[in-house]
């Protein structure tokens, strides 16, 4: 096996090793510090952790593809909120209410369509104007959030459908509905990125855009598909989460983009594009959720949790840089 492959395994395995360390640390530290009687690695606790990872996790999986492309999408939190409003509000429309429970799939459809359309707007602007995705989605983040507030002012949008709640709270083979969506999304995207032409092109474009153009790859439309995909996934994330909660605050989903990016980066995907792995992002999502839960378990408050996650993110990137240093030729800054 070439050194390159070995390096890849170390890189992709790193996040899982980190998760193992976290589990060990919180189990042991929990024995001394925990306020609760339960062990940290309690089975139900772990199942809950996966369920709680789902909303940001589904978005982070999509963000991986965007970042492999060398782009970024800051508007996912706002798309998440707007899709959630569409989901809940559409069920209160008179014709929808007349449909009974058949309104549910239709409402889902509306929400997902919202996500795809908003993503397409991002993608189209990036493609046609050539403006950097960071700037485009920074603008649309503000714009889409504006739409959220225009919809219902500062008021939450609420609608509780008990059939929907039952579905969202169901467990199949022990796993919650949300967890199934997270794992299913991961599987599909993993296949997309490793086995299909689209996935191959995504890597090529992120790694060397000029070479991709020279090889006859249509870069603009490719970007557009990926922005539509992440829009869809942000909406899917909203569908999964709000089916259960039934109420959207206009501030919901804020900072989701940054948590998603954190998970992706923690999973080893390069910020500059060209390299990344869906499975490692799944690891990154779980690692963050473990940290939150684990620090809570040993009695830390939310502020401390954020501080620790921030420090770990920087430490991980520093380590990554050390491992990937190309000799002494690198420019000093």
């Amino acid at each position: 096996m070439s050194t390159q492959n070995r390096k890849d395994i170390i890189k992709q395995g790193g996040i899982w090793a980190f998760i193992a360390v976290e589990l060990a640390f919180f189990s042991i530290a929990g024995n001394y510090l925990s306020v609760s009687e339960k062990a940290f690695m309690d089975f139900d606790n772990m199942l809950l952790l996966l369920k709680q990872s789902a909303p940001i996790g589904i978005i982070a999986l999509g963000m991986t593809i965007i970042m492999i492309n060398g782009n970024i999408d800051l508007s996912v939190g706002a798309i998440f909120a707007l899709s959630a409003i569409m989901l809940l509000d559409s069920m209160t429309w008179p014709f929808m209410q007349a449909l009974g429970d058949w309104a549910i799939p239709l409402a889902w459809g509306f929400a997902l369509l919202t996500g795809v359309v908003l993503g397409a707007i991002n993608g189209l602007i990036v493609w046609k104007t050539g403006v950097d995705a960071f700037i485009v989605t920074l603008g649309s983040m503000l714009g889409f959030r504006g739409l959220v507030f225009m919809y219902n002012g500062e008021q939450p949008t609420s609608h509780l459908n008990w059939t929907l709640v039952d579905f969202a709270e169901a467990q199949f083979l022990g796993l919650h509905t949300a967890t199934w969506f997270l794992l299913g999304t991961a599987l599909i995207l993993w296949i997309l990125m490793t086995r299909t032409v689209h996935g191959r092109n995504a890597h090529a474009i992120g790694n060397n855009r000029d070479a991709a153009v020279n090889a006859g790859i249509r870069v603009g439309p490719h970007f557009m598909w990926n922005f539509m995909l992440i829009g869809f996934l942000a909406a899917l994330s909203a569908v999964v989460f709000y089916s259960e909660s039934g109420s959207v605050n206009p501030n919901d989903g804020m900072l989701y983009e940054l948590w998603a990016i954190t998970a992706v980066v923690l999973g080893g995907t390069k910020l500059a594009g060209g390299y990344g792995s869906i499975i490692s992002t799944l690891g990154g999502v779980i690692a963050i959720q473990l940290l939150r839960k684990g620090l809570g378990h040993i009695g830390a408050d939310t502020q401390t949790v954020n501080l620790v996650i921030g420090l770990i993110l920087i430490a991980v990137l520093f380590l990554d840089r050390q491992l990937n240093r190309k000799g002494q030729e690198e420019l000093k800054i």
């Binding site: 390159q4 191959r200 890597h203 090529a204 060397n208 000029d210 006859g216 060209g274």
Partner: protein, 503 residues
């Protein structure tokens, strides 16, 4: 300082890189008040020599003397402190800053608490600008200046110290004739002040106009120094190309087919104008000219990366419309680009994925890329082109330049193109692999491909081509057949010396 003490002297400089002896015992000296030309083909070692002089590369052997004092150069800053300054071909200016800030970048005069002494900065700058005799002032934003004036700013930078030796690297590459006159005045002025000047250029005309002596490098070796007054262009060319080309002329002959690609009156803005040529199946058509003559731009236009402003492209006698590389690839035109690493390869991907990149869309079973089909293509072209790699999983960035180039060529051959355009086929490739690539190009022609080779290396162009198009400043000067061409008439054609002859 007497006239006899060289201001700068190099003795037996050797610099090796893994697999390449870039400089092999280079010795020459520069006297005060002298303009000393340094000439050589691309890849002869001029830039490496300058990097050694500037302290960017440490020489493996040899010694640098400044005013006969042995000196070890460690960085361009230290070189400047010793009075050796560089004017680079590529300008490195901060466009948003003023002329004064650029000239004193990194060494702004200061007052207490780190505040900039603006008054001193502007007076000092004005003093320098006065010696340069320019029309702009110290407060002008550099981004607003013409290229020629930006070059003056770059020269101004050199004058913040009292320079002993100034090195000009292709200073006239982007200047108009009128602007050149101004530059030559500045050089004459420096000369009068007793500064030694190294002048790197390809342009014979200038060299004979302003220099006192000419030193020539070839393949990293010092080939001698001539007094400009006592020599002529032919002698210098002879020294540059040297040996009566042991890269023998292309003599292999095979039957040629019909015209595959024809270009009529193709123009693209100011890049090139009214270019016409045709290449037949089984023929290698060489393009030779100086950097900036428009050769690469022609290739990019044919490949759909640029939009032509006029002209026609015909493939097998049919006019075609090419608006993007996708069109070109579909029509069977392939481009092996000039910059392998930036334009040709996805360095972070493995060998197989790079080779199949343009055609994976056709290598699918259902929605999935077929691993077997991909590996089959890779294996076929690895064997055909003799690509040396441990396996298809190897990341392309880890291969040698020669093998990387073969991956790019294999990528296009596997698409079965009709026309293969190869831009600088052996740039940055070691000598052994060079001849392999050359043989490969000849072989491809023998197999019936129409091949266009763009090169800045004369031996290469002479070696592989059946006919050679000589370009100067965006125009075709002359098309030579293998029988007509000599080094002399080729050099003359690409320097724009001879008026256009019968094509």
């Amino acid at each position: 300082m007497t006239e006899q003490t060289p201001i700068l002297r190099l003795e037996g400089i050797v610099k090796t890189f893994p697999g390449v002896r870039a400089l092999d015992g280079v010795s020459f000296d520069v006297r005060p008040g002298e303009v000393h030309a340094l000439m050589g083909e691309n890849g002869a070692g001029k830039s490496t020599l300058m990097k050694v002089l500037g302290g960017i590369h440490a020489p493996n052997e040899g010694q640098i003397f400044i005013a006969e004092e042995p000196t070890i150069m460690t960085s361009p800053i230290q070189a400047k402190a010793k009075g050796v300054v560089f004017i680079h071909q590529e300008l490195s200016l901060a466009g948003e800053l003023s002329v004064a800030e650029n000239i004193f970048l990194g060494e702004l005069p200061r007052k207490s608490f780190g505040r900039v002494d603006w008054a001193k900065l502007y007076t000092d700058t004005d003093k320098i600008l006065k010696t340069l005799n320019v029309s702009f002032n110290a407060r002008t934003r550099v981004g607003d200046l013409s290229i020629a004036n930006q070059q003056m700013v770059e020269i101004g930078r050199a004058l913040t110290v009292d320079p002993r030796a100034v090195i000009f690297d292709e200073p006239t590459a982007s200047l108009t004739d009128a602007e050149k006159v101004v530059l030559f005045d500045v050089i004459a002025d420096l000369q009068a002040r007793g500064v030694g000047i190294i002048y790197i250029s390809h342009r014979m005309e200038e060299i004979f106009k302003i220099t006192d002596r000419i030193s020539v490098l070839r393949d990293g070796q010092y080939r001698g120094t001539l007094n400009t007054a006592e020599t002529n262009e032919d002698a210098v060319t002879q020294l540059m190309i040297g040996r009566s080309l042991d890269l023998s002329r292309n003599e292999s002959s095979h039957d040629m087919g019909d015209v595959a690609l024809e270009v009529r009156g193709l123009s693209c803005g100011s890049l090139f104008n009214d270019v016409s040529f045709a290449v037949r199946k089984g023929e290698v058509l060489g393009f030779y000219g100086l950097v900036g003559a428009g050769r690469t731009e022609i290739a990019e236009t044919i490949f759909g990366l640029r939009t032509p402003s006029a002209g026609q492209i015909l493939l097998n006698g049919q006019e075609v419309r090419i608006t993007s590389p996708i069109d070109a690839i579909r029509l069977g035109i392939s481009l092996v680009p000039e910059d392998r690493k930036d334009q040709g390869l996805v360095l972070g991907m493995n060998c197989r994925d790079n080779m199949t990149l343009p055609q994976i869309g056709d290598l699918t079973t259902g929605p999935f890329v077929s691993n077997g089909a991909e590996v089959a293509i890779f294996d076929q072209y690895r064997d055909k082109l003799d690509i040396r790699t441990p396996g298809w999983r190897q990341t392309v960035g880890n291969l040698s330049g020669g093998n990387q180039q073969k991956i790019v060529i294999g990528k296009w051959l596997s698409m079965r193109p009709e026309v293969l355009i190869v831009d600088e086929p052996t740039r940055g490739i070691d000598v052994g692999s060079k001849s392999e690539i050359h043989n490969l190009i000849r072989e491809l022609a023998a197999q019936g491909y129409a091949v266009i080779v763009i090169s800045s290396e004369m031996p290469e162009v002479l070696h592989v081509s059946d006919r050679i198009v000589a370009m100067f400043s965006g125009a075709v000067m002359r098309t030579f057949t293998a029988e007509e061409v000599t080094e002399d008439n080729l050099v003359q054609a690409i320097s724009g010396i001879t008026p256009q002859k019968v094509a």
